[in-house]
Symmetry: C2
C-alpha cells in the first residue's frame, strides 16, 4: 500500500525539523566544549543511570575504545562520576554529576530557545492547533505501538 501524499509530506517535514534541530545542536555543542558522541553518551547515561560500560556499548553500538576515551573525558570534565557498585564491587557504574546534569539541561534549553525563534510567526491559535494535532499523532503512534507489542506477545 502506498501512503498518501499528505503522509509523505508530514513524514518528511517531521524528519527535516528533527534533522535541523540536530544540526543546530551540533553547532552549539562545539561552543560548549562537547561533541555529538559525547553529548549522546551524556544523554544515554542520564536516561538509564546508573549504567555500566557494556550497557552503553550495547546500546550505542560504539567501539569500546572510543567509548572509553569519551567517558574518560567526561569524567575529567566532572560531568560524569564513575564508582563501584556497592553490591558488587567488580561492576563500575556511571552517573551524571550535578554539573553534567546542568550541562545537559543547558543544551536542551538552547535547543528550545532556537525552536522558539522558529515559532515566532505562529499566533497563539496556531500554536494551540499545532500542539493539538501533534499530540493526536503522537497519541495514535503510541497506541499503535502498544497494540503491536500486545499482538507479538
Amino acid at each position: 500500500m502506498a501512503s498518501s501524499k499528505e503522509t509523505k509530506i508530514i513524514d518528511k517535514t517531521i524528519r527535516d525539523i528533527h534533522k535541523n534541530l540536530v544540526k543546530y545542536t551540533k553547532g552549539t555543542l562545539r561552543e560548549n566544549n562537547l561533541t555529538m558522541p559525547r553529548f549522546l553518551v551524556l544523554w544515554y547515561i542520564t536516561k538509564y543511570q546508573p549504567v555500566n560500560m557494556s550497557f552503553l556499548h550495547d546500546k550505542m553500538h560504539m567501539a569500546n575504545s572510543t567509548l572509553t576515551v569519551i567517558v574518560d573525558k567526561l569524567v575529567d570534565d566532572e560531568l560524569v562520576k564513575r564508582y563501584r557498585n556497592p553490591k558488587d564491587r567488580r561492576i563500575v557504574l556511571l552517573e551524571l554529576t550535578e554539573k553534567g546534569d546542568k550541562k545537559l539541561c543547558k543544551m536542551l534549553d538552547i535547543r528550545q530557545n532556537f525552536l522558539e525563534k522558529a515559532l515566532v510567526n505562529l499566533n497563539d491559535n496556531d500554536k494551540e492547533k499545532l500542539i493539538m494535532l501533534l499530540g493526536t499523532v503522537l497519541g495514535n503512534l503510541e497506541e499503535l505501538l502498544k497494540e503491536g507489542e500486545n499482538n507479538n506477545e
Copy 2:
C-alpha cells in the same frame, strides 16, 4: 531566557514522534533481516554515495571492526556493492545496489504506512493545517540556520 511552555511541549512532542517512528522502524527492520546499525549504514551510503570506509567511520563514529562486519554482511546480502575507484585503484568505494535501494525504499514505505495509520482521525482540514504549520516551522528553522552560518563566516 527560558522558553515558553508551548515551545517545550512542541519540542518534546516532535522528539517523541520521531522516537516512536524509530522504535517502530527497529521492529520492522528485524523482520526484514536488518538491524539498526545495518540500516543506518545503508542510509549513510545512499546519502553520500559513492563513499569509502573511512568516510563512514568518521561520519558514524562506529568502530572500524564493527563497520567492516556490517559492510561485509551488506555486500554478502547484495544490498551494497564494493568496487575500486577507477581514478585511484587504492580507494575502495561503496554504493547501494538496486536491491539495496529497493530495500531502503521499502523500509521508508513501511514507516510512512505506519504514520498514515496515526493520521487516520485527522480530517483533510487538519492535515492541511498540520502541513502548513510544520512547513512554517521548518522554513523558519532553515532560515535561522542559514543566518547563523552567514554570521559565522
